[in-house]
């Protein structure tokens, strides 16, 4: 009787170990699958030299009374030039390169240039944006844990790893991919404080000729 009891416990324990190893294996396989998918997606998404797209940005910040909705255009020229033009609720333009930010806004009507070397906070934020926009997602894996939320269309969630400074502010970043998987449909940044920013891309055109004027920040008001 006693032997039977011991045998039962042993059997249950073995089953438990088996289950644990199966779950671990599945998780490991899933992680490996997600990395492969991300690599594949990165290759597709980054397969352009220039890009222009309209966008809508929704800012749900506790500092504001209401949600702020911005509309504008983004021009991207690889390897390191992003122009960001907003028409509503205020007109402003920002040109981001790897060395500086050049910006203009309607209210001041002044063009201002800031060197990124002297501003590590801006530099970090803008470097991150450049990575999200250009599709080099594999490079994010050392700083973020990634999870596949949805397979069709693809939706990934990036959570800052322990020790990553971004984890002090960012809770998660979710990217949704277009059905044809050629570019992003939406990026949502959720902060620890509960603030969130969502950028929705519309009418994205790849490798279309971009006029030099599109990289000018000062506009004729």
């Amino acid at each position: 009787m006693r032997i039977k009891k011991i045998f039962t416990i042993y059997l249950l324990f073995s089953c438990f170990l088996f289950l644990v190893s199966v779950v671990s294996l599945t998780e490991a396989n899933e992680a490996s699958d997600v990395h492969d998918m991300l690599r594949g997606l990165g290759e597709k998404v980054s397969n352009f030299k220039s890009l222009k797209t309209n966008f809508v940005q929704e800012k749900n910040l506790a500092i504001f009374k209401n949600k702020i909705i911005l509309r504008g255009r983004i021009y991207l020229q690889k390897p390191n030039k992003i122009a960001w033009h907003v028409d509503e609720p205020v007109k402003y333009s920002v040109l981001i390169t790897d060395k500086s930010i050049r910006q203009w806004d309607e209210d001041t009507n002044q063009v201002q240039e800031i060197a990124l070397s002297g501003n590590p906070v801006f530099q970090n934020v803008l470097n991150q944006l450049a990575v999200w926009f250009s599709g080099d997602y594999v490079s994010l894996l050392k700083d973020y844990d990634v999870r596949l939320l949805w397979k069709s269309p693809l939706v990934f969630e990036f959570i800052p790893k322990k020790g990553n400074v971004a984890g002090k502010i960012i809770k998660s970043i979710t990217i949704s991919v277009r059905d044809d998987e050629r570019y992003l449909k939406q990026i949502k940044i959720l902060e620890i404080s509960g603030d969130s920013t969502t950028i929705i891309f519309k009418d994205t055109i790849f490798n279309a000729p971009i006029d030099n004027l599109d990289f000018e920040v000062k506009r004729r008001v």
Partner: protein, 825 residues
């Protein structure tokens, strides 16, 4: 009296030559055996620096501080298709592969996590860091115009891409108070002198094609053997790098090792060439196997001297042994004179006895020059004096009392040599025309000699190999940092005391040279006393009335930009936290406390905490500014190393006893001043001693003056020609100059003595052979790759040539004209 005792000693040695030779042989065997017990030091720096407060304090600072003793490796991507991710991966692998026993602390960047922690501590202690002046500034901000302008800026900022994550920051700090602290932090981090960016916690260059690794090593910069081991280990690790990465090693050790390598290579080459030429000279000119004993005499003397010097001085420097042996090499001259006096004579005794006096006084004058070295403040020169004097005395004794009895009789020897010696003895080589030529040249060169300078820049005699210099040039092109700043050090056993002095000096320093030129930790972190005062002032500043006024303005102006009513509540909550419940808690500075312990630093480490992810220690912002040594705290502030700023800061430093300055410019000037002062003193002592001894040799004023002509000619020609060729006196050629003057002094005594015409002892041929052998050795040195050795060669060739010319071609005529004696044919 000298002659009487010298002759007695000679006769005794002649009678008991077997005993004397046996004793000598036994002593040589014992000395050889004892060599295994002698301990040597390779640290040249310790021996070559004069005793001086500024110099010793600067060296002590370099020894203790984290600034020295670091090894930097700069990695460069050479393949265009590779990117910074490849570079950073390789530098991480390299950092992990380094030998921890040689490099206990390796860092590749500033950890962003650690940096964020430091900033958190700063922000949490913001009230302690805001000065009275800054509070007045904050007060001036609390008005409608400023708040409106500030909120408009904040609104625009939040809508821009770079403002994506700034919402919560603006809520807790609408006035930008934290920027006051960040600006100070920025000024500290930008004062490193290097053009560095941080990418993923790594040091990278602006072009993102280079990454930097900084390793702290346990090997002192002056330890040649350790340096070799360390560089070999580093190079072994670098071999594992892929082909698309080039690595440059930047460290002081590379200079030490390279200099030694070059010197060894030069000396090997020189020794081979000189030995071959000397053997040929003696085989074909002297044609006597026993002449080899002339060379062996100084070798035996050096052997005894190493053991005796070790007995008297303890550990010997390789540098002293090397240079001392070279100096002792000139005693070959004494053996040569004795050899030619004894050569071919059936009874050499009267001839040898005749040269005992000039040979001995030649040795005495050389010894006198080295006695002057005892008055130098440079420890190495003192040791050199002991070693050299012992070598010269022993070599002279062996040359005079042992060598003549070992030399084989050469009755059937080369008639050519004997005929040449006789012809030279009988020939009058001096003439009025030569005297005029000598006088003219000496006067012209005397004019130029006053312009010869002392080389202050020790780098000019640095023989570091080209590839190391090129690596440093590439490094500076990429990372900057060509100009090392001067350092003002506050030293105290008490940490708070050090902070207080540092603070006072900062205030005075800013007034004297401007805040933009003076980087000090005091701009950010003050003493406990000041921080407590700041904290109290902050509490009193934020009255309910002021808070209400600000709240009202934020609400009123915020409405225009759609800010919510509770938008800035976090700011007011933090004000409450800052000045409400929490008393002043004297939080230690981040490098002194990571939250785990309140105990300050251990010896030698500054901010030596580890990155949570990599486990490697990080460099933090404060590492350059604070350090704990054995018992003291060192707080360091930096400013440009120019005369103007150094003078201003020196005035301030002189008012604080626990402070001192470390400046490369000041160190170089002090070194130059101390060495030239030493040189002047030594020159006077040597000059007086040489004159006195020369007089004792002749007991005749005119002959003394004539005998001094060669050393004086040597000095004037040497300085004059050096000045004409644009050469300067330096620490290396100074010794060579002394040596050349010593030889010239010997030649002067020999030739003046010969002019008495009492006996023909082959003096001229002996001097010619001695000069030729010295010029061969020194002449080969001119072609040495090491600039110090090359300058030694030039000095020796000029000095010895001038001494030879004046002794052989000028002294006989002068003796005939003024001493009333001439060489009797």
């Amino acid at each position: 009296m000298f002659d009487k005792y010298a002759y007695l000693l000679y006769d005794y040695a002649a009678k008991n030559k077997r005993l004397v030779q046996s004793v000598l042989l036994l002593l040589i065997i014992i000395s050889l055996a004892c060599l295994f017990f002698v301990k040597y030091e390779s640290n040249m720096m310790e021996h070559m620096l004069p005793k001086n407060k500024v110099i010793s304090r600067s060296m002590e600072f370099f020894r203790n501080s984290n600034i020295a003793g670091k090894v930097i490796v700069s990695l460069e991507l050479t393949a265009p298709e590779k990117n910074e991710n490849d570079l950073l991966r390789e530098i991480d692998l390299l950092a992990d592969s380094l030998d921890k026993s040689l490099f206990p602390q390796v860092t590749v960047g500033i950890s962003e996590a650690a940096f964020a922690k430091d900033i958190d501590v700063m922000f949490k202690n913001l009230p302690e860091m805001i000065s009275e002046k800054e509070l007045s500034q904050i007060d001036s901000w609390i008005n409608q115009d400023y708040i409106s302008q500030k909120l408009h800026g904040a609104y625009l900022q939040l809508l821009k891409p770079q403002g994506i994550l700034l919402g919560s920051i603006l809520r807790s700090d609408p006035l930008g108070l934290r920027l006051l602290v960040l600006e100070k932090l920025k000024s500290l981090s930008s004062s490193t002198g290097y053009d560095v960016e941080i990418k993923d916690g790594h040091f990278v260059s602006r072009d993102r094609r280079h990454a930097m690794l900084i390793a702290k090593t346990v090997i002192p910069i002056t330890d040649t053997e350790g340096g070799k081991r360390m560089i070999a280990s580093l190079k072994k690790s670098l071999k594992t790098l892929p082909g698309y990465i080039r690595a440059d090693i930047i460290c002081g050790h590379a200079h030490t090792v390279s200099n030694e390598k070059l010197i060894k290579r030069d000396i090997t080459f020189i020794s081979i060439v000189a030995a071959v030429v000397l053997i040929l000279l003696y085989v074909f000119v002297i044609r006597d196997f026993s002449a080899v004993l002339i060379f062996l005499t100084p070798v035996a003397a050096i052997l005894f001297s190493i053991n005796l010097s070790y007995f008297f001085l303890g550990n010997l420097s390789y540098w002293v042994i090397g240079l001392g042996s070279t100096v002792a090499g000139i005693t070959i001259d004494y053996g040569t004179h004795v050899y030619f006096a004894a050569r071919g004579k059936d009874d050499p005794a009267p001839f040898v006895k005749h040269v005992i006096k000039p040979v001995s006084f030649g040795a005495f004058t050389t010894i006198a020059i080295f006695i002057a070295f005892f008055f130098s403040g440079i420890k190495g020169y003192n040791q050199l004096a002991v070693f050299t004097i012992i070598s010269i005395i022993l070599s002279t004794i062996i040359s005079i009392f042992v060598l003549p009895h070992i030399i084989m009789k050469t009755g059937n020897g080369s008639s050519f040599t004997d005929r040449t010696a006789e012809r030279l003895e009988n020939r009058n080589l001096s003439s009025g025309l030569i005297i005029l030529l000598w006088l003219f040249l000496t006067l012209v060169l005397a004019y130029f000699s006053v312009y010869v300078g002392f080389e202050k820049d020790i780098k000019k005699i640095d023989g570091t190999e080209k590839d190391i210099i090129q690596a440093e040039e590439r490094f500076q092109k990429t990372w900057g940092g060509e100009k090392t700043p001067a350092v003002l050090v506050v030293n105290s056993k008490d940490y708070e005391d050090a902070l207080e002095i540092n603070e006072k000096i900062y205030k005075e320093g800013v007034q004297a040279i401007g805040a933009e030129h003076f980087t000090s930790m005091a701009s950010l972190w003050q003493s406990k006393k000041t921080r407590k005062e700041n904290f109290e002032r902050w509490k009193n500043f934020w009255t309910e009335e002021r808070k209400q006024k600000l709240r009202k303005l934020l609400l009123q102006e915020g409405k225009k930009y759609n800010f919510s009513k509770k938008a800035f509540d976090p700011f007011f909550i933090s004000l409450k936290e800052y000045s409400g419940n929490d008393p002043f808690n004297n939080t230690p500075l981040p490098p002194l406390d990571r939250g785990e312990t309140h105990h300050p630093l251990k010896k030698g480490d500054v901010g030596g905490f580890s990155d949570e992810i990599t486990g490697r220690p990080d460099i933090n912002l404060f590492e350059r500014f604070i350090q704990k040594t054995n018992d003291d705290y060192m707080l360091m502030s930096f400013f440009p190393d120019t005369k103007e700023y150094v003078d201003s800061m020196n005035k301030i430093s002189s008012r604080y006893p626990d402070t001192y300055m470390v400046s490369a410019a000041v160190l170089s000037n002090t070194l130059s001043e101390v060495v030239s002062k030493d040189l002047k003193l030594m020159t006077w002592i040597a000059a007086i001693s040489v004159i006195a001894l020369t007089y004792l040799c002749f007991f005749n004023f005119r002959e003394t003056l004539i005998a001094l002509v060669p050393p004086l000619t040597s000095i004037v020609w040497l300085f004059g020609l050096m000045s004409l060729f644009g050469l300067s006196i330096n620490a290396a050629n100074m010794i060579a100059g002394v040596l050349a003057i010593g030889l010239a002094s010997d030649y002067g005594i020999f030739m003046t003595y010969r002019s008495r015409g009492e006996m023909k002892t082959g003096t001229v041929l002996a001097i010619i052979l001695c000069t030729v052998t010295t010029l061969i050795g020194a002449g080969v040195l001119i072609f040495a790759k090491h600039p110090a050795l090359s300058s030694v060669g030039i000095t020796m060739v000029i000095g010895v040539s001038a001494g030879f010319f004046s002794s052989v071609f000028v002294v006989p005529k002068l003796a005939a004209l003024f001493a009333g004696r001439t060489n009797k044919e």
